[in-house]
């Protein structure tokens, strides 16, 4: 249970960062932390204490009861790739914003209002 709570704490750290930080790059990194927390939680959901990797090898029979659940790991791989794309997108936008406004500070980037 402690692991899950720590994982959730990491998630909250990410949200805290997004809400309080004023620097675009720090916001992007905070979002990354949030994503890592969710991925970590996925892996934890599939983990069983004392079980082994979910790969069938020749001449060494592995029972399904003794291995970790492979599906969350597959999902995490997909979600990491999506996060990579998302981070690249956010970083590209941050670069373009810097070119337009000459700053990373979100309090100075407010041409839109209302």
């Amino acid at each position: 249970m402690t692991v899950y709570l720590l994982c959730f704490a990491l998630f909250l750290v990410g949200i805290y960062g997004i809400i309080t930080k004023r620097d675009l790059v720090r916001i992007i990194i905070s979002w990354g932390i949030m994503g890592y927390a969710v991925n970590l939680m996925f892996v934890l959901f599939g983990y069983k204490n004392g079980s082994i990797y979910p790969i069938f090898v020749k001449n060494a029979p592995v029972l399904p009861q003794t291995m970790v659940d492979p599906l969350p790991q597959a999902l995490v791989l997909t979600s990491i790739v999506i996060e990579l794309g998302n981070t690249a997108m956010l970083a590209a936008l941050a670069v373009r914003l810097f070119q337009k406004y000459q700053t990373f500070d979100i309090t100075k980037i407010r041409r839109l209002s209302g």
Binding site: F11, I18, G35, L75, S79, L93, R96, R110, R111, L112
Partner: protein, 492 residues
Amino acid sequence: MILPFFIIIPLLTAFVITLISGERDDWAVILSIIVEISLLILSVFCFFRVDGTAVIYKMSNWKAPIGIILVADSLSIFMLIIVSFIALTSLIFSVHYIRHLSPSWNYYALFMLLVTGMNGVIATGDLFNMFVFVEITLFAAYALVAYGNRAEEFEASFKYAIMGSISSAFVLLGIGITYAMTSTLTLANIAEVLKQKDPMVSLWIGGIFLAGFGLKAAIMPFHAWLPDAHSSAPAPISAMLSGVLIKALGVYVLIRLFFNVLGGIAIFNEVFVILGTISILVGGFLAMGQWDFKRLLAYSSISQVGYIFLGIGLGTWLGILGAVFHLLNHAIFKSLLFYNAGSLETAFGTRDLRKMGNVAKALPVTSFTSMVASLSISGVPPFNGFFSKLIIIIAAIQAGRPIYAFLAAIGSLITLAYYMKVQRFGFHGKNILQVEKNAVSFGMNSAMIILAVLCLVTSLLIVPGIREATLDTIVAVIMNKTGYVSQILGRQ
């Protein structure tokens, strides 16, 4: 089976466009319009084939809990028709508008990705697959919002991207918890397993999904990104975002999850009703104070989506009928209003209502169609908006919630007020404006005329004989909470 083609065709087109396009965008335009016409024909054809029972496609022929399935019932085909139709008119409108803004084939490739993602979200029957398609849609949407290359657009796009990313993290967390609790990711199997679990589990999962997808649907506490993103995007993209994206990613997914999977829990219906009513009023009041035409329309979207949520939350047959009908109507007239705004922007280079004036002489089609759209969205009788709002208000009274009916009627008056303002200042003002000929092309005009005609024609859907064949089949899918599950699991 034609179901996977709704995803394959636009995805393939997106990549083909990048391969064949050179300096000019001619091939991209022709290809994407042909694709959208074929998707529209396919989806209309499907609607009459489905007829009450869900059609299931098993990817690579793996059975449902193991493989990914695509499901088409009346509700999802109805959404596919709306997406294809609005996308088609949006492309017709785009041709001249994008050449005027900054011509490139990139636009059409991204547009096709946007359509791919939305079709995927609608067609899939698997929770994680749905997440992947949501992300595809959002990537394309972020890029398209920033397409105009101005500082404000990057700002809006960044805001949208951060909010979208947070909501995606919540959705992913919800998917993780769902998987941990039910050991499956197929929607029908999740519903089956959750029945035997503690009701608290459903509440937790529902709460997280409400936060995640509510952000995408832009209901009131989660609305902050919408006015920026929708008003900064190019006009045809604003029409896509306001007209279909918030419905496909937000409303459709919430209906699917909360009615067909979680089984219509009373407390969430209550939440929908309250948030919907708050959205109607607050969105309306905020829209009233705007002078930027597209920003006003964006706030109006929040307000109108509130009506859809009010209808869904009532949970009665009539309420859901009104919500589904209003979903269709809002897609039509809000897209039309965004095209009007785009045409004014092309002609006069401004979105400020105070700088506009009497455009009836200069742009007769824009002026006339905007009148039609304003009347429909404010709920004036012969047009479609009147009937859907009336149904929702009557449903609220029948469900024993006269206060909500009263507030919805007040919201309708507010809508009328701010569209009067648009007509008064934007289209029939004092200063008479002149434009050169052909500022608004034939394509833009025809897109607006098609939608204006539909504003009147879709009122016919409420006529009893037609209603039974169209809207009632969709409501039946939503109301029959166990039907979705039993049809999918029974067909193994």
